[in-house]
Symmetry: C2
Subunit: 170 residues, 2 copies
Amino acid sequence: MAAVAVLVTNLFEDSEYIHPTDAFRKAGHRVIPIGVTAGETVWGKTDHTPVAIERAVAESSVDDFDALLIPGGYSPDKLRVDAAVVAFVHDFVASGKPVFLICHAPQLLITAQVLSNRTVTGYASIVQDIRNAGATYVDAEVVEDGNLISSRNPGDLAAFTRAALRRLAA
Amino acid sequence: MAAVAVLVTNLFEDSEYIHPTDAFRKAGHRVIPIGVTAGETVWGKTDHTPVAIERAVAESSVDDFDALLIPGGYSPDKLRVDAAVVAFVHDFVASGKPVFLICHAPQLLITAQVLSNRTVTGYASIVQDIRNAGATYVDAEVVEDGNLISSRNPGDLAAFTRAALRRLAA
C-alpha cells in the first residue's frame, strides 16, 4: 500500500481534499497531510473542513512518500511563496513518482519551474499561466502525462480519483 | 476630475479597494465600481467590505472612464475567467489610459495577454507567472511603466495611492 502526501494550507477546496483521500484510505493507502508547520490545523475555503498537518514540508523528503496529491482552491497560491514547499514540489515531480494535481495545483509546479514541455489540465483561471510556463493545456476531465495526473475542478473528482487509484495500484 | 473604474468581484483585498478609492474621492475624482453584474453586491475577503457594482463590464466602454484600478486578493482570479472582463482589461491597457494594479491584479493582464515586454511588480505568489508572461518583475513598492502603475501588497498602499493620484492629476 502507498504512502500519499497531501500538500495543503488554508483555503484549500474541501471536496478536492476529501473525495480523493477518503478513496485512498478505503483502498488501504496511508494519507499524510503535509504543509508549512507540523501540528497546525488548516481549513477548507468552502465548508471549513479542518485538516491537521502531520509533517512540515521542510522536515520531509520525497523518499518518505510514494505519491503526492495537491488539492486546489487558494491553498496553492498561499503555498507557492514558501521556498521549502516549492523545492519539495520540484523534487517530487523530478523523482518520477506520481503527482496528482487538481484545480489551482499547477500554480505550484509553475513556481517550481517543472511544467515546461509537460501536458496538463487545471482550473479555467490559470490556463494562460500554464501555457506561458511552456506546458500544453488540455481541456479534459483527466490528463495523464508521465507521472503527472491532472484534473480541472470538483466536477472532475470521480474520474480524477479513479485515475489516481489506478496509478497507486500499479 | 477623473472618472476611475474599479474592477472587483468577491474576495477582493479590502484595503486595496478602500485606501485608494477614499483618496480618489477626497481629491474630487469619481469612483465607479464595475464588475460582472450591475446591481450586485460583492464582498472583501478580509473584512467583508460590501461594494455595490454600478456598471457591468459587458455594458461598459473604455471611453467611459479616465483610469482603471484593479484591487487584488482573489478577485482577479475569479474575474479572469470572464471573457468580457478580459477583453475590457485588454482594451484599457491598449488605450494608454492609466491602469493601477496591486497584488494579484497582474493576473488579469496575463490572461488578456498585454503584459509582454512590460515592467511591473505584483504579489509574491505570482512572480513566476509575471515573468513567464514575458514581463520584467521588479521588487519595489511602486513600479511605473508607461500607463501601468503597480504595487506588491497592502504594505505598499500609501506609495501606490500617491503615485496614482499624481497620475490622475497629470
